[in-house]
Symmetry: C2
Subunit: 128 residues, 2 copies
Amino acid sequence: MPVSNEVTTTERPDVNAANCPSRSVLEHITSRWGVLVLAALLEDGRRFSELRRLIGGVSEKMLAQTLQTLERDGFVHREAHPVIPPRVDYSLTELGEQAARLVAGLARWSEAHVTDVLTARAGYDDRS
Amino acid sequence: MPVSNEVTTTERPDVNAANCPSRSVLEHITSRWGVLVLAALLEDGRRFSELRRLIGGVSEKMLAQTLQTLERDGFVHREAHPVIPPRVDYSLTELGEQAARLVAGLARWSEAHVTDVLTARAGYDDRS
């Protein structure tokens, strides 16, 4: 079994350790598009095309790659329907829902505090 | 005043909108090193050199850049002490502490669920 798939570890997981697999977990759920995909799936299962429309600026390639990473990590369930035209639905697993609630909290916080941050930036730039 | 420093907005902030400034707030607090720096500062103010030692794999340049971004956003307070050798301390502002609590929650969750994710990855790779 390759090292990257070892499911047991003797040391306590620590995201500050560059080689600890928990850092890759954190990086996947906080990735540029991972955050937005998880938050978008929190309310409902969604089709690929819906996610693509909802999340402004994401390319088809990046969205597919992000969903695949999240599926491999056990956060996202992918269901391909054998219809014409083909339809693929994505939903959160139980594990993914836990992660999604945390990242959605960050997304909502960012929206709620954007004015504070923009004010801070203007002050910083005035002083520089 | 440049558009990026506008502190008022007529529309409701939405991280799914590519041009909404709330997306940049979210991206800064969830950046690769931003997450780890915020979480590291949550317990205590720290010197640059301490942060560099604590956060495995961060380069001096990336740490400096991350701290500057977080300072400009109003999350981090920087205090340079006029001593020899020079010493610079970083601490969280009140706003930064709010963000840090949320990202530290994600870091702790990632550590707690690393085995679940590694198990999911092994299963995915076996099926592929």
